[in-house]
């Protein structure tokens, strides 16, 4: 199984979970059906024309119907965003396999899960809505609830013990490490340049190579650069995880982010940046480190609020081997690879586990707050949205591309604060993909259907699709695809002693053949030809042979035959030997020679000859010898 991401967009249908009682949210009117029925008004609330479920947010799980997940042997994880559904799979499906991921992926993935669990668990919700999920009821709801897919499968967030259990099933791997999977294939993670520890995977046998490219970046950011060379000579390249916002150049967006941040702060407003606790935030902090002095923002406090803020900032500094070259060299100086260490030292950046406690004492405005969750449905961000939403001086800047910012903002409407959308997605865009594919030249590309056509909202942008030859094979949800290659060969090893014993015979110039008699030993999908057991020694005494000594009897080697039988000559030979009533019939595969008198049939085909006669062994042997005269033996 390649990755197991969690679709969190389902949470956008729920009301935010405020940390402190929000009079605004609690006063939202219940939703009433067109016919005046009010049976859903406890479950659904209306806010500025949108309807939300008033319950603990739920998540949309990966497809479970199509495949029995307990039969999955291995899960390969590409990056920490692509493992968020792991506890649902390892803890609920009977999964007994192994998960492979790099160390930073696991550590940061743990932080993301921890933050998620923490954000939801610390605001327990008394009620749990389920009535609206009834198919008959759902049909009556307004969009987008009406169109939500498989709501019955939506699940509440997992717990920390489940997270720990899931993570314990992960086996850590390093870049370029070759991992044997049951002897059948070898898998290797390669740096994908997108996030700390993010990987592309190569899955190869001796004669086939499949590359899985997911969430890769060619930009110079903090992680180790993408390893492109190792992707060459792939039979199939499965391509996914491209940028979600192909028209937004990350550099331009960072510029936009900084400009809007500075403008807001200079006007006395606060800036709220809903974000994940790891990833782009490192680059943003680095960018701000260079920018704040030039923008005259040295005195403006930057707050990073997350239950895992401290761990995230510290983890980033210790994964030196997973960082880009520049940052690695800093470690040897020794200096912290990321400049946010200096921001923390100089008190320009302060981090807190939550808004309670120290933060409330230190809080000064105007300020810039980085906090989660980017969906604006849970986490400390909900508090700041409630706090700052009423003033047009403040700005919320969206940098994570995973959620539609308009949908995220819907339960906060009407909103006076400014909203700026600067999605920073460093993953491959279509121009980069095109260059990558030219460089790597896979025989076939397999990708989601969405990448083979322009985005629906910009149908004229034919540049925003994958352009390669041969055209990519596309797949859609729940579609079963046969990868365009056949496994034709298996590699078999020959033991040295056996190889020694072979005597090749040149049958054509440059082509030699040898007969091999050996025992094929197959274990864990590895095949080895071994010397056949020696023939039994003649018993030294007249002791009776014991059953345990009974090794397979090795029959004397029969010669191998080659060549074809010319039917006319064969018939003549038969006649010479006294068979007078020979009759030849042509068949689809060869000929049948009938000896009517002897009631015997000789069936001659390209690769076999059968002599069929009833209990006349001397006749069969005679005929066999006549047949053998026409064939070569070796």
């Amino acid at each position: 199984m390649l990755d197991c991401g969690l679709d969190m967009t389902s949470t956008l249908n729920f009301l935010p979970l405020p940390l402190v009682q929000s009079p605004r949210l609690s006063k939202l009117p219940g939703w009433v059906l067109k016919d005046g029925s009010t049976f859903l008004d406890k479950e659904l609330k209306e806010c500025s024309g949108h309807v939300f479920v008033d319950s603990v947010p739920e998540f949309c799980l990966p497809e479970t119907e199509l495949l029995d997940l307990s039969t999955v042997d291995v899960i390969l994880i590409s990056n920490y965003h692509c493992m968020m559904a792991l506890p649902y799979i390892t803890e609920y499906t009977g999964f007994t396999g192994t998960v492979y991921a790099t160390e930073p992926t696991v550590q940061i993935g743990r932080l993301l899960m921890e933050e998620l669990v923490n954000s939801i668990e610390r605001v327990p919700k008394a009620q749990s809505a389920s009535m609206w999920k009834n198919k008959e009821v759902q049909r009556l709801l307004p969009a987008p609830l009406k169109d939500a897919v498989e709501v019955s499968m939506w699940r509440k967030c997992y717990t920390m013990p489940e997270v720990n259990a899931a993570l314990s099933k992960i086996q850590l791997v390093g870049y370029s490490q070759k991992i044997e999977l049951f002897g059948a294939v070898q898998v290797t993670p390669l740096s994908s340049g997108y996030a700390l520890g993010s990987s592309n995977w190569i899955i190869q046998s001796h004669y086939e190579k499949v590359s899985y490219v997911s969430g890769s970046s060619l930009l110079t950011t903090h992680p180790q650069p993408m390893d492109q060379a190792s992707l060459k000579n792939s039979d199939v390249l499965i391509l996914t995880g491209l940028t979600q916002i192909p028209t937004a150049n990350p550099d331009g967006m960072v510029g936009e982010f900084c400009s809007n941040l500075a403008m807001t702060v200079r006007n006395g407003g606060n800036v709220l940046v809903p974000c994940y606790p790891s990833g782009v935030i490192y680059d943003l902090l680095e960018c701000l480190y260079q920018y704040i002095d030039s923008a005259g923002l040295s005195n403006v406090p930057f707050y990073f609020i997350s239950p895992v803020a401290n761990s995230s900032l510290e983890f980033s500094q210790i994964f030196a081997e997973w960082l880009c070259h520049n940052k690695q060299t800093k470690v040897y100086l020794p200096e912290p690879p990321f400049p946010h260490a200096e921001l923390i030292q100089t008190n320009k950046l302060k981090h807190y586990p939550s808004i309670h406690g120290d933060f409330s004492n230190d809080f000064k405005q105007p300020c810039v707050v980085f906090t989660g969750h980017p969906s604006l449905r849970f986490g400390d961000v909900v508090h700041f949205m409630e706090l700052w939403g009423k003033s047009s001086l403040n700005t919320v800047i969206f940098t994570e591309p995973d959620f539609s910012y308009l949908d995220a903002l819907a339960p906060y409407q009407p909103l006076a604060m400014k909203c700026v959308y600067c999605p920073i997605d460093t993953r491959l865009n279509f121009i980069q993909v095109s260059k990558l594919l030219k460089e790597v030249q896979p025989l076939h590309v397999v990708c989601p259907e969405q990448y083979t056509q322009p985005p629906p909202t910009q149908s004229h942008r034919t540049d925003l699709m994958i352009d390669c030859q041969p055209p990519p094979m596309s797949y859609r949800r729940a579609e079963v695809l046969t990868l365009p290659y056949k496994r034709r060969y298996e590699k078999i090893e020959i033991m040295p002693e056996l190889a020694d014993s072979l005597v090749p015979l040149e049958i054509k110039p440059g082509i030699s053949l040898a007969t091999v008699s050996a025992v094929l030993h197959t274990k864990d999908n590895k095949h080895v030809l071994q010397l056949p057991p020696k023939p039994p020694q003649p018993p030294a005494s007249k002791k009776r042979k014991r059953v345990s000594d009974d090794v397979p009897e090795c029959k004397p080697l029969k010669p191998l035959l080659s060549g074809s039988i010319p039917v006319d000559q064969f018939v003549q030979t038969l006649e010479k030997h006294g068979f007078s009533d020979v009759k030849v019939e042509d068949t689809a595969k060869g000929h049948i020679v009938l000896l009517q008198e002897a009631e015997t049939l000789i069936q001659i085909e390209e690769d076999s000859t059968h002599i069929i006669c009833d209990n006349d062994e001397p006749l069969r042997v005679k005929l066999r010898d006549l047949v053998l005269k026409f064939l070569q033996k070796f």
Binding site: G252, S259, N260, M263, R266, C287, S294, H460, R461, D463
Partner: protein, 854 residues
Amino acid sequence: MAMSFQKPWFLARARRRFAMTRECAVLLPRVCAALADPRQPGSDDTCLEKLLDWFQELTLFDSTVQLVQDNPCLTEFITSVLALPEPSPSILSFTLRLAGILAASENRFQHLQQEKLLARLFGRDGPLNSAVWEDASVRSGWVQGVHNMMHHQPALHLLCSGGGIDVIFTLQGDPSLFVASAASQLLVHMLTLSVESETTKPLSTKDCDWPACAQMIIKRIEDSLQSSSASHIEQSLKLLTSLFGSCRATWTEVLWLGVAKQIESFLTEETVQVQHMLANLLLNMAWSPVFRDTEGSFWALVTSALEHLTPVQAGPLAVGILRLYKCPQDVRIQALTVLLQPMDCILRAASQPLEYAGLLDESVSDPVTVESLLSSRSSCANLLCQTLAHLEELLSLSRLPVDLPYTSLLRSLMTILQFCNGFLSPASPLGSTISRILINCFRVQRSALDVLAALSERKGSDTLIESLFDLLLAYLESPNTSPTVLKKTFQATSKWLVRLQELSCSNSQGQQTEKILEDVFLVLQKRLCSPCWEVRDSSLEFLTVLIKCLRDQDEFRQSLLSSEVPRLTENLLEDPESYVRASAVTAVGHLAFITYFAPEPPVVGNQYNKENTVAKLQEILSTDPEGFPRRAVISIFIKWLRQGCTGQLEDTEQFVSRVIQTVEHDLDWEVRLGGLELIEVFCSQTICQLGLPQCPYAPVSSAVTSSIHWNESLQVFCRAKLFSFLFRSLCDCDKPVGQRACDVLLGLRSNFYPVSTLEGSQGTGDSAVGHGIAWLQRTLRQGSLAQNFPTDGSNGVDFQDPENMMIALGAIELEELHDELNRSSDHVEKSPQSLLQDILATVGTIEENEADCY
């Protein structure tokens, strides 16, 4: 008549000026001997070039044999180089060129030929048949030598009779481009010389009695053109291009008629690819009255070329034709068609059929070629950039001999820009292809924005102004706009904003203008906060341009002052990037014209504190570690002073004094120079205000009153401590500063000492003051004032004392100083004598070593 009267006098003076001095004549034989000595290390090429320049000057106005007769070492030098078994290529090249310079006059030619020197140098037995010919510098020397010599018939005959023409024709294909180009130029020169010096009666098409040499050259040209070798054809086309470009005599038409048919065939010929050469040839011919003024086949050929050449090849020809005032109208239309066709294709590709009329009538253009070029990734951007560059060139002409369809052109430009940022969903397959190619193509964006800016000055394209601003604002707002494209967008926007203001004045589109300005300032506000310093810098430059052009417009001032832009601009005075600080200084300086210095200062809040701003600028001037911001401050102060703003600010005298004291020790000479300019403006304003006649020759009403004024002005200048800076600057280590200071002092003297009074007042007397001035004079002469500058008046000079300064102005030989400062610093080193000494000095060491050895 006047010229012939002046000629002997002029020539005599020129000869005197460029004659060889006795000192040089003494040094020259040793130099020649040293250069001809193969044991000497190769002389510096620069020295040899300078030596040749000197000989060129010596021979320019003197055609007599005197130079070679008086200096036999020159012929000896040539002889000895010819005698060397293996001369160094650089010396041989030098010798060839020197011989050519000397032989440029017929007299000296004959003198040198007495020993057959020229035949030996340039003939078959010379270097051209030796191993050293392999060296490109020798071949180049040979061609240049022949060119130098080629001013008379004997030289022509020497070459023609010795097979030189063949050599030169071969050299046209030389691997060294310098040699090849020089050979081509030489042939043009020889052909012209031959026809013009050897023809006795005018040539006509019927009677082609070419002189022998010309005949040889023309025959070779014709043969090459008829050959199947593309390189030979190219060489001949190049030669003809050069000939028609430099020679406008009627015989060129006779020559042309002989080759015209052949050349015409190249347009349609597919086996020989020389079409790319034809545009230049035809263009040079079009500029020549010989062809331009004919009604005949020439223009038909041009039309045919415009039709047959590819759009990329025909572009330069088309734009050249459109620059001509004398050109048949149908050719002009054809040329315009070539230029507008890509723009027309763009328009058609982007719009629904029949939606717009397009730029061109379909009957005059066949768009297939252009369409195929635009659909190819490799040629689309090139064709568009070239076309756009040509259009910009045309639009930059003050008088366009042709009417362009401005509205359609603007629409096409907007379409290109929309393609480039992916805003346009094209209606045709061609449009989709072009869109795919052009998205994010910065080159095309930049070129299109340049044309857009140029188009703002042309009337007739105003109907689209609203959608144009939508587009410009989209570019200004988009985070995907690259910094260089953004800069171009700013330039185009500023030009169109000026146009918009003109329009809104005439047709009361006030509201629309106000909305656009509001949007512009909103986006500018964001750009001023960009993390990319180039963006902040161009944003500030944009603001400055806007203020310069639009500060008199109420709408503009109101929109600007009600935005956050002024405050953000002031913040950028502390930007970490020095270029940005400099641009911020300039912008703030200009902003002051509509805030502090406006006749009716705005009543928008109280955020514009002028004292603070001035103090901030002065702080930058005194403390900024980089030169650019300090230069910007002094420029702004000069601007303020010129526009009379400082009077409202504070006492101008104090202001100038404080600025001068800050800049006089500045390490950047441009800042010090700015300080002197400030003084100059201040002095002229002060003298004007106090009523002193500016013209030194103006009658002075009464000696008494004028002396009072002088006194007053002088007192002002002394109080402002201008003189110490001015006198110290005379010895500034950077010459422009000294020159400017001297100019200012001369200006002041001319004010204080009208010519009639100057002579009598120059005595310094015996007093203490006199001693001081004498010291000053001495020190200035030595150029050491800067080091010995008196800070306490201990040398008897008080720079703040009007009397002292009055005497100093009269006594110090400022004219002498002025001449001294204006002389180039290497005037000694540049002399021929110094050059000869330099050459000897490099060989001298060897002579000394030899003496040591024996």
